[in-house]
């Protein structure tokens, strides 16, 4: 009874589909792992261009240099996955640093210094979260306000200058090595693992992805969307405070005017290079990890090749744009 519309149906299968599927598998690998592939390519290029690049000390040096931005970028990843952005990270880092040194000098206790840092970071993050979730202010605006506000308070407290720690043991945090590896590197890797676990293995992470992908559907799935947002910004604040502790401890001082300057840009760049989508819902913590390393290698390579520091921003900008263009192609 079937009047087949086309009598020549039973033609043997053509080769085309097998080839097509191999191609589509390749595009899949590319879209999932493009950051890692890019990392490997840049790594090999760097090794060819400059023999000094592969030196273990140089490698550790790169890791050391990216650890602070790396920790900030981990928090930024979570914020951006939720569909927001945090422009205040650099200023908050300076403010937290200033508060930490004050607490340190006032009490003489390293523990109090660290606790002050963590508490102030979380509180500022919480404030960002409340503005976004309860105040319904766009994250770009809310954190732009916080960026200006936090910097200003840091400048006011430190009277525009730097303040230095007067407690001897504090510098040990950033300047100690375990075996051959500097502590900041270990903290960065540890934080990366923790944030990875949080985002990929817990309900909180699932909620953040859902929120960033479709807020209304997340709410109708009975997710406490407001609380998730507040938690996201608080977590970013917490990670900024960890970065602030390392930054302050490294030189035993913090500058209210220049510390943390433009960190938000580097952090956002690392997240974007790592493949996280600007509008949220899609991206990986591992991507950010490699995004940070790519930025670090580029900086290092340009230093080794004596590229003028004034031109380095241009190269970085170009890389970000290229990364985004590649992601758009999927």
């Amino acid at each position: 009874m079937n009047r087949l519309a086309n009598p020549e149906l039973k033609e043997p299968a053509k080769q085309g589909s097998a080839m097509g599927s191999a191609k589509s598998r390749l595009t899949w690998i590319w879209s999932e792992y493009s950051v890692i592939i890019a990392f490997v390519i840049i790594f090999i290029l760097a090794a060819i261009v400059s023999p000094r690049f592969l030196d273990i000390n140089n490698q550790l040096n790169i890791l050391m240099q990216v650890s602070i931005i790396g920790i900030v970028a981990l928090g930024m990843t979570v914020v951006m996955l939720s569909g927001g952005i945090d422009l205040s990270v650099g200023s908050v880092l300076a403010l937290v640093g200033v508060l930490t040194v004050l607490a340190l000098n006032a009490t003489g206790s390293i523990l109090v210094g660290i606790l002050t840092a963590l508490a102030s970071g979380v509180i500022i993050g919480l404030l960002n979260g409340l503005l976004v979730a309860k105040g319904k202010i766009a994250s770009f605006i809310a954190t732009l306000g916080m960026m200006a506000g936090a910097r200003s308070i840091a400048l006011y407290i430190a009277e525009g200058g730097s303040i230095s720690g007067e407690v001897s043991g504090f510098t040990a945090i950033a300047n100690t090595e375990l075996w051959v590896i500097d502590v900041p590197i270990i903290i960065f890797i540890l934080m990366a693992v923790l944030v990875y676990m949080l985002m990929h293995k817990t309900s909180f992470g699932r909620h953040v992805y859902a929120l960033g992908s479709n807020e209304k559907a997340a709410l109708l799935s009975a997710i406490r969307v407001d609380r998730v947002k507040i938690a996201v910004y608080s977590l970013a604040g917490l990670l900024v405070s960890v970065a602030a502790i390392i930054e302050t401890s490294r030189l035993n001082s913090i500058s209210s005017s220049s510390s943390g300057m433009q960190y938000e840009l580097d952090a956002i760049a690392a997240v974007i290079i790592g493949g996280t989508r600007m509008t949220g819902g899609r991206g990986k913590v591992i991507g950010t990890f490699f995004g940070v390393l790519i930025l670090g290698i580029l900086n290092n390579m340009m230093n080794l090749m004596n590229v003028s520091p004034h031109l380095q921003g241009f190269v970085k900008g170009a890389i970000i744009i290229v990364a985004v263009v590649f992601q758009k192609r999927e």
Binding site: L4, S24, L220, S221
Partner: protein, 504 residues
């Protein structure tokens, strides 16, 4: 009608990630006919149309239009070849106005290069008027009911002169009388020689509007023919391999415990003075036309809308539900309509969508037990016959009907006592519909209270023991399911008749 072939697709093959979705499908559409493209969920209908629409590229096969070989390398190319596409999932931009949506990407400019707003509004009003839809061209789409959004999608494809219109489930959120208006329009189009490919799971519509049909099954051609020469049963059998009954379901006994009671619930401008109660084991239906307020009513009961007056009692206790989380704590579940906007998290995998509303179940010392998630998903995959090769892919890769099944699984997994389904079978094929109805009745038999919102009177009639008809935010009538008929429902739903006391 002379038999002039307009479109011919030959031996189309397509795989995604090595999975063969179309295994050599051919389709022939004549000039000026309405051609039904039928098949189960996941049979490959949308994929075939996406190839015609230039969204996907075939691995092999050819397309000819009026004998000319054409290559649809992108949607623009397809449009240039006279093909318009109404997609299965609505693509309107909520934050734009109606006319802006209609002319998105094809804005009319005046001679100075500025937007010619009046002209666009005029054409918008004209085309919507011809579709019998009364909305202002400058109203914002986000404020409109779903069926209007669907009409906007339809109008968008009609704006541009096209020779072939693909309609992928155009009526999945339309009520019966709205479907009628669409059909009048389709008939007019046919007169002017436009061909239409019509995809739908509603066989009644196929019988009414379509001339010929092609059935796909698992990516292969299962048959084709002239609609009039076949009985609907035969076509169903071609699609799902078995005949489907249309009988009313037998119900188990209703228990005495009232699970949900609503007293004098009102929200300014949405609904007013709503009173009803649902007992354990009962299946209650709410129906009406677009704008009757039923969805908003149950969104309030689920805590998505907060500003209401009146009382909601769950198991005899007055509850203030102001967040969906509280509703879920009170063991209320809600499967929303319009899955793309309200339910699907398109960046999460199929499994993760399934578990999203019951993550606490999968929590082991703060970490999610992913093997348990997989296990639960396999259970629902078998139970609801979800067609997916790899449940770790993102859910937007699934066929529409299979996405809907995952949404049902999500709320079955949350295991509430009171389960609200809003348009639960949107995009579900006839065979699977039957299975889903059986699942719903099994839930009722377990002592759950079931509420079904639907604009399809037959669905409500088959499933529900008590039926409430709403009109402009009020319950205008309630029937005992056994005694109600489609006509009775219609006369109240359209506001032709109203009566506040109960019949039956």
């Amino acid at each position: 009608m002379e038999n002039k072939v307009y479109l011919e697709m030959r031996n189309i093959k397509k795989s995604f990630n090595g999975v063969k979705v179309l295994k050599g499908v051919s389709l022939q559409v004549q000039k000026g006919e309405v051609h039904a493209l039928l098949g189960e969920n996941g049979a490959g209908k949308s994929t075939l149309m996406n190839i015609l629409g230039g969204v996907h590229q075939p691995d092999s096969g050819s397309i000819t239009i009026e004998g000319r070989d054409v290559k649809m390398s992108d949607p623009r190319e397809s449009k240039a070849n006279g093909v318009s596409f109404i997609h299965q999932e609505l693509n309107v931009v909520p934050d734009l106005m109606v006319y802006e949506n209609l002319f998105l990407g094809t804005e009319i400019k005046n001679k100075f290069g500025f937007l010619h707003v009046e002209e666009m509004c005029r054409q918008t009003a004209d085309i919507l008027g011809r579709l019998g839809v009364d909305i202002h061209p400058k109203s914002y789409v986000r404020e409109l009911d779903n069926s209007y959004k669907q009409f906007i999608e339809i109008a968008k494809s009609l704006l541009h002169k096209s020779e072939l219109i693909i309609m992928d489930e155009p009526t999945s959120s339309l009520a019966d009388h709205e479907v009628e208006r669409l059909f009048t329009f389709i008939r007019n189009l046919k007169e002017t020689g436009v061909s239409i490919i019509y995809i739908s799971h509603k066989l009644k519509e196929i019988e009414e509007i379509c001339d010929r049909f092609t059935v796909l099954r698992d990516g292969e051609l299962a048959g084709a023919g002239i609609v009039k020469e076949f009985k609907l049963d035969q076509i169903t059998k071609l699609m799902v391999g078995k005949a489907i009954s249309n009988e009313r379901f037998e119900h188990k006994e209703i228990q005495d415990t009232v699970l949900l009671e609503v007293n004098n619930l009102s929200t300014e401008g949405l609904y007013k003075n709503i009173n009803f109660s649902v007992k354990a084991g009962e299946v209650v239906g709410f129906t009406g036309l677009a704008g009757d307020g039923r969805t908003e009513l149950f969104e309030s009961i689920f805590g998505y809308r907060k500003k209401y007056t009146g009382q909601i009692k769950v198991r005899g206790q007055v509850l203030k539900i102001d967040h969906p989380q509280k509703a879920v704590k009170a063991k209320i579940g809600f499967v929303p309509k319009n899955r793309k906007e309200n339910a699907i998290i398109k960046d999460l995998s199929v499994i993760h969508n399934m578990s999203l509303s019951s993550l606490s179940k999968f929590n082991r010392n703060g970490l999610l037990d992913q093997s348990l998630e997989r296990k639960r998903f396999r259970y629902y995959k078998d139970l609801l016959n979800i067609k997916v090769h790899d449940p770790n892919i993102t859910i937007d890769k699934l066929s529409g009907g299979n996405q809907q099944k995952v949404m049902l699984a999500k709320w079955l997994e949350a295991d509430p006592d009171i389960l609200i389904f809003d348009n639960p079978t949107q995009g579900i094929d006839v065979g699977a519909k039957q299975e889903i109805y059986e699942q719903i009745l099994a839930l009722a038999a377990m002592g759950k209270a079931i509420i079904i919102l639907s604009s399809e009177a037959p669905e409500i009639l088959r499933l529900c023991q008590r039926i409430y008809v709403m009109y402009q935010g009020e319950i205008v009538s309630s029937f005992n399911g056994n005694r109600a008929t489609e006509d009775m429902i219609m006369s109240y739903a359209t506001g032709a008749k109203r009566e506040d006391e109960q019949i039956g």
